[in-house]
Subunit: 119 residues, 2 copies
Amino acid sequence: MAKCFEQLDGVFVALSDPTRRAVVMHLGHGPMSVGELARDFPMTLPSFMKHLRTLEANGLIRTIKSGRVRTCVLNRERLALVDDWLAQQRQIWEERTDRLEQFVTDPEEKTRGESRPRP
Amino acid sequence: MAKCFEQLDGVFVALSDPTRRAVVMHLGHGPMSVGELARDFPMTLPSFMKHLRTLEANGLIRTIKSGRVRTCVLNRERLALVDDWLAQQRQIWEERTDRLEQFVTDPEEKTRGESRPRP
């Protein structure tokens, strides 16, 4: 659980930059070489590589070297952590909405006490 | 669009810390005063306030002062930006899967050309 928390910290850090989110989006279409990817980003190659390293260090992408070509692959499973976290929040909100609805539709139930049998 | 990008940067930064994610989760149950919230976090009040300010600056929570009590309220709309971004990624992946499926089920279609009518 603690490991998952740490991974989530890193995923959010990695996604907090527009260049890194754009790389994730590009790789959503399929694996790409560093060279192909870098062409779409108006920055120096060292700056771009720094972003790739942040994405790789936080598990959002994997890179595979074959000869002189390094290919980047998206790791969707790591993005699923964000999905899971959001789903957890939505569940909390829904439970709250349910409680509020119950209170609004039957406010007296609260004052009568939960243990009293319903008629 | 640029504003939305900036907002998303801030939302991801705000969510990259376990304390701040825990505050978001707590406030999912409903508004809480700073005092009530702070009780659940083992840190000094100034440190905790810093986290609240980061959440507020990035639009994830609002705080309302009434007399001596400051109440924190979750801003779910800001979290929806993350949902929208993830949905956009999923759409890209699904389009890719559709294209791959089409290629696997009918690989010759590609070589015959798209304009040729099917038998």
